[in-house]
Symmetry: C2
Subunit: 286 residues, 2 copies
């Protein structure tokens, strides 16, 4: 069932709560791919009712970012959700979510602001305000859908850490479930932004997963010095690659370390053909 | 029942939700007086279960404010709540609410930040960060108690407007109930901070309600010019009074106006004996 209206969603949720159903939420920006599909399947397997939200959230895009050209494929998204037995596809308009506030800003809207320590690094360093926008819309969706579980992909690693931190800090009664990255056979992490790439760009984009794999191999061979591990990346980069960051941090706290260990996560952001791509891998387990 | 522990509160709430009980929350900083009592009575009259939180919230006090000396009277508060048939008095420690975060700041904690337009005036002008702290703790309490209704006193008028705006902006599934100011026979609005005043100070403090009443009378006589209405205040002020603000604004949006109307609210903050007191009145109805 496709719904655009918050009140209609809430009416359904109220009925489900009365029945004692476990509710799962998969928040997405649409342009669904096999990565999203893995979240939806996990939600279906563990919940009685599943809501997939499809909303390209204006307040998490910077003024020079790709909000306008971000891929929108609602018909295909809805078909895919129906095939998976999703109960509600919630696809609100920006107006439905933020009202007639005109220019959306913290002058007129309440924002949920995750802590600077988690935000002022990695993607947050260049995407100023991005995680405020993410946490705000995620909390709104949580309040509308009131799910027992919400499913997030590990590909946006910083996002998952921040959403978990936000949920803990604000006592949000939703369990955050983190699901592994889905990759093409080539190793390329699935992303809605891969649609922007030419075939050649997709080949150049393999450098992200190659760098991560190489660092993991070096770590497993006994190299733990973070600088040394990071330096192994440079032999992979060509003039097709504009590296934005490569970091090895604590996977839960995003703290910097001198030496990598089994709690470390390696994170990379790199532009290929002007498209900003991100990827990450754990050195130990999840 | 006095509870200090979040998980214990949640356990009770879960049981109540199963039974379909309507839950009311009265968030307070303790030092309960007849103003709080009116909120509790209203909650008891309209809800099956009532939770009163008693928490002097460190993150809504500025570094030079009265956090340390704010009156704490938990035993008396608990007795009063028991007498009114309150089901849970929730009195957590700062550590229970904010963990071992050390210095509490937006470097390490997620904050809920209401819009600048509502914050950068009245009490928010001098109490920088105050309403971020208020909204953060209110949302935490909402998430812990998951009430159907939450009861706030009209005395903190800016707070009520901001909490309502926050609830609307973030789709918080809680109805905010606003309750009228309770006054001593003299006209003095009840406040936990009145305890700081000497008998003489209490007399000097009557100037707040006198100024408000006089403006209301002038308005009812046909004066609507905001500057003219505000000027009527100065004849009441002596060297015992340190006026912080006197404003006539739209009661819902806190917008400034040239002419008062039935949607206007008059708000005053004034120090007496160094104690910061606030009061307000509607020119029309609520």
């Amino acid at each position: 069932m496709l719904l655009n209206n918050i009140e209609e969603v809430k009416k359904n949720i109220k009925e489900w709560k009365k029945e004692g159903f476990k509710i799962g939420l998969v928040p997405t920006m649409g342009a669904l791919h096999a990565g999203h599909l893995s979240l939806i399947k996990k939600a279906k397997a563990s919940c009685d009712k599943v809501v997939v939200s499809v909303f390209v959230n204006p307040i998490q895009f910077g003024p020079s970012e790709d909000f306008d050209k971000y891929p929108r494929t609602l018909d295909a998204d809805e078909r895919l959700c129906n095939r998976e037995g999703v109960d509600i596809v919630f696809a609100p308009s920006p107006k439905e979510m933020y009202g007639d506030a005109g220019r959306l800003s913290n002058d007129t809207l309440t924002y949920v602001c995750p802590p600077f320590f988690y935000v002022n690094k990695l993607c947050g360093k260049t995407r100023v305000g991005h995680f405020d926008g993410v946490c705000t819309v995620v909390l709104k969706l949580f309040n509308i859908v009131q799910p027992d579980y919400a499913f997030f992909g590990q590909k946006d690693a910083q996002q998952v850490v921040i959403v978990k931190k936000m949920a803990a800090d604000l006592n949000v009664p939703v369990e955050i479930i983190q699901c592994p990255i889905v990759r093409e056979e080539s190793g390329l992490a699935l992303s809605s932004r891969n649609k922007y790439l030419t075939d050649e760009g997709k080949k150049d984009a393999l450098v992200l997963s190659k760098i991560l794999n190489n660092i993991k191999t070096c770590y497993q061979k006994g190299i733990t010095d973070v600088s040394a591990l990071k330096e192994t990346a440079y032999s992979f980069l060509t003039d097709k690659h504009e590296l934005e960051y490569l970091e090895i941090l604590d996977k839960n706290t995003l703290e910097e370390k001198l030496h990598a260990d089994n709690n470390s996560i390696v994170l990379i952001a790199c532009r290929v053909e002007g498209v900003r791509l991100i990827d990450n891998t754990y050195l130990g387990g999840i």
